[in-house]
């Protein structure tokens, strides 16, 4: 009997010496806030914690910061679903994770899932904050058609965000902070939403940054967008660009892709091969 008790106590000590998944997630969040992605990555190197909401939230942030949009979207979506099921829908972290999912799905060209998650982000932020004004505008813009398509309906009905969001209980506290910015993730990756205005000749006459991650767009990039010939005259539209390091969303009339300063269109292929 005595030896059994001793074994049990020793085990208990051993378990305590291993940090919990939430602790690792909080450590990673702290590292991200210091732009120390290397440290964050080490904290997140625990396969046994996969599936833990706080831990997966940080994995989503890590993927987002590295420009791994497919992974970021799937992880952020999973955490948003799990937080909503646990009565924690109306929290700043859910707004930000939904934004990461929306932007990442947009980068992955999945408009339906992007639209839904931006709608969630906007809705949660309206109720409980979490997004800056520009981020809210971006989320609103890219979700403005929500409900038009039948494929939206099931997601909206099943997602837990359709009805007024409940006040989060005390169990929702302590979730690690999710930051959408700042700090550069990986060289040569920029997620940028700009509002473009075209003049009477159909040329882009004004470029206004709405959202940019991880950093503000270089002026040279903005300059390279101005003057491009668009399809429509005198329009105002928001466009999302995923520069990795180039983006081809503005290749109207056979123009070259838009690239981050210092990069060429062929770097996109090299980057894709490296990935």
């Amino acid at each position: 009997m005595i030896s059994a008790l001793i074994t049990s106590a020793a085990l208990s000590v051993a378990v305590q010496s291993e940090p919990g998944c939430e602790d690792s997630a909080r450590d990673a969040a702290f590292a991200f806030s210091r732009s120390d992605d290397a440290a964050a990555t080490e904290f997140l190197d625990r396969e046994a914690c996969h599936g833990n909401a706080a831990f997966d939230a940080m994995r989503a942030v890590a993927a987002w910061r590295q420009g791994n949009f497919g992974e970021a979207a799937a992880l952020a979506e999973g955490v948003v679903i799990s937080r909503a099921r646990n009565g924690c829908a109306r929290t700043r972290e859910v707004a930000r994770l939904a934004f990461i999912a929306g932007a990442s799905y947009l980068a992955e060209d999945d408009e339906a899932l992007s639209r839904y998650h931006f709608w969630v982000a906007h809705r949660v932020s309206d109720a409980g904050g979490g997004l800056t004004r520009n981020e809210r505008d971006v989320a609103e813009h890219f979700s403005e058609d929500i409900g038009t398509y039948r494929s939206d309906h099931r997601r909206m009905m099943d997602g837990g965000f359709l009805d007024p969001l409940p006040t989060p209980g005390s169990a929702c506290a302590g979730f690690p902070s999710v930051q959408l910015s700042p700090a550069p993730p990986r060289d040569g990756v920029l997620f940028l939403v700009v509002e473009l205005r075209t003049n009477g000749a159909g040329r882009v006459s004004r470029v206004e940054e709405m959202f940019s991650f991880p950093d503000a767009p270089p002026q040279a990039l903005i300059d390279s967008i101005e003057g491009r010939l668009a399809f429509d005259t005198r329009t105002r539209q928001q466009v999302a660009l995923v520069l990795n390091p180039c983006a081809d969303q503005l290749t109207w009339f056979d123009r070259e892709p838009v690239c981050l300063p210092g990069y060429q269109p062929e770097d996109s292929q090299a980057q894709a091969a490296a990935d």
């Binding site: 309906h153 359709l162 399809f231 009339f253």
Partner: protein, 383 residues
């Protein structure tokens, strides 16, 4: 669209009658009826059932027995497609029930069966009269699922009747009442429910009630999607539902999804576009990742001319039309998906659309033919 509520419902009401103590003129044909029914020979049972009922009427047999005999015959006549006779017999049974039991659910149900048979017999005014008797009784009964179900079935008959007479607004009123009652019962997915929701959509679209039209068309598209109806009808409903959802603003669309959620109806899981899922919606193919798509947009739309004969006759109408926009901006491949109450409305819409001009769809900057543009025309006479 045809009312498909099964006549076999009526057979369920066929009831046994104790033949003892009845005059021979009644008991003999009743025994023949019973023998045929036990042998499963409904055709052979029809004539003796009629004779037993008529003999009971002549011999002054008690009301309850006479009513049951009328009911037996009505059920067989209905199943045999003798709707006029079925209507008269159900109506007689309902009258007797009203006298003996008063305004019960059974009385109302029997009036409804009479109305159904009259509708199937093409007796317009009789249908209306019998259905009204049923509705009067049902409206006075305490609310229950059974009462709501009966209201749905009765209002459905009235909606079909008005629809057949090209009276879309009246059909829509009955259809809305039917759906309201149906939502109290719970979601039921059959062709009648789908058609009725569709009628309510048309009536509301005709009155520019965009939010209501979106609600009913979407319910219809959900139900058509869940039933094994024909693909064409499903696509029309989907196209109209999608179109109507584009006509309402963001807040109303959110409210719409809440209402749909509360209705208990849900879109079927349907992610396979190759199987036709959502094919009636945007009409745009699933372009590869990174494709820049600028949808076609109208430059010039010629006004539609109201068909003069329909105008002078006071007919109003509604049309759903689908067409393609060529790479040069011309309209092509015009299809009238729906035109009620008269095809001339669709023809007038088609003539106008033929002269429309568009900025073409651009895919990565290249002007491209755009399939599946859908639009709606409302023909309304204003003072």
């Amino acid at each position: 669209m045809r009312l498909v509520a099964a006549a076999c419902l009526a057979l369920a009401l066929a009831a046994p009658v104790a033949a003892q103590g009845l005059p021979d003129s009644v008991s003999e044909p009743y025994r023949a009826y019973q023998t045929a029914m036990e042998a499963g020979d409904e055709a052979a049972a029809l004539d003796p059932a009629y004779r037993a009922w008529q003999a009971a009427e002549t011999a002054g047999v008690d009301a309850e027995t006479t009513g049951l005999l009328a009911d037996n015959y009505a059920a067989l006549a209905s199943a045999a497609g003798q709707h006029e006779q079925a209507a008269a017999a159900f109506a007689r049974s309902a009258e007797i029930l009203a006298d003996t039991e008063g305004g019960t659910l059974l009385t109302a149900e029997t009036w409804r069966l009479a109305a159904m048979a009259a509708y199937q017999a093409g007796e317009e005014s009789t249908t209306e009269r019998y259905a009204s008797r049923a509705i009067d009784i049902l409206s006075a009964l305490p609310a229950s699922r059974e009462v709501s179900a009966a209201i749905f079935q009765t209002e459905t008959i009235l909606a079909y009747r008005q629809f057949d007479r090209s009276n879309m607004r009246a059909a829509g009123r009955h259809a809305e009442r039917a759906i309201t009652a149906l939502l109290e019962v719970g979601p039921v997915a059959n062709m009648d429910a789908a058609n009725i929701a569709f009628f309510a959509g048309i009536a509301n679209a005709s009155d520019y009630n965009h939010e209501e039209a979106a609600f009913y068309f979407t319910i219809a598209s959900y139900i058509y999607g869940a039933t094994s109806g024909d693909a064409e009808t499903r696509q029309i409903a989907e196209a109209w539902a999608y179109y109507s959802r584009t006509t309402i603003d963001d807040d109303d669309r959110l409210e719409l999804v809440r209402r749909l959620d509360a209705s208990g109806y849900r879109p079927v899981e349907c992610d396979d576009e190759d199987a036709g899922c959502g094919a009636g919606e945007t009409g745009l193919p699933d372009y590869p990742e990174g494709t820049d798509v600028e949808d076609a947009s109208p430059i010039h739309r010629r006004e539609v001319t109201y068909p003069s004969q329909l105008l002078s006759a006071g007919y109003e109408g509604i049309v759903l039309i689908r067409f393609a926009v060529e790479a040069d901006g011309d309209v092509d491949d015009i299809q009238v998906l729906y035109s009620v109450p008269h095809p001339a409305f669709g023809e007038a819409a088609e003539r106008a659309v033929r002269h429309w001009r568009y900025n073409p769809l651009r895919v990565d900057g290249v002007a491209t033919r755009r399939e599946g543009v859908v639009t709606q025309f409302i023909f309304q006479i204003t003072e």
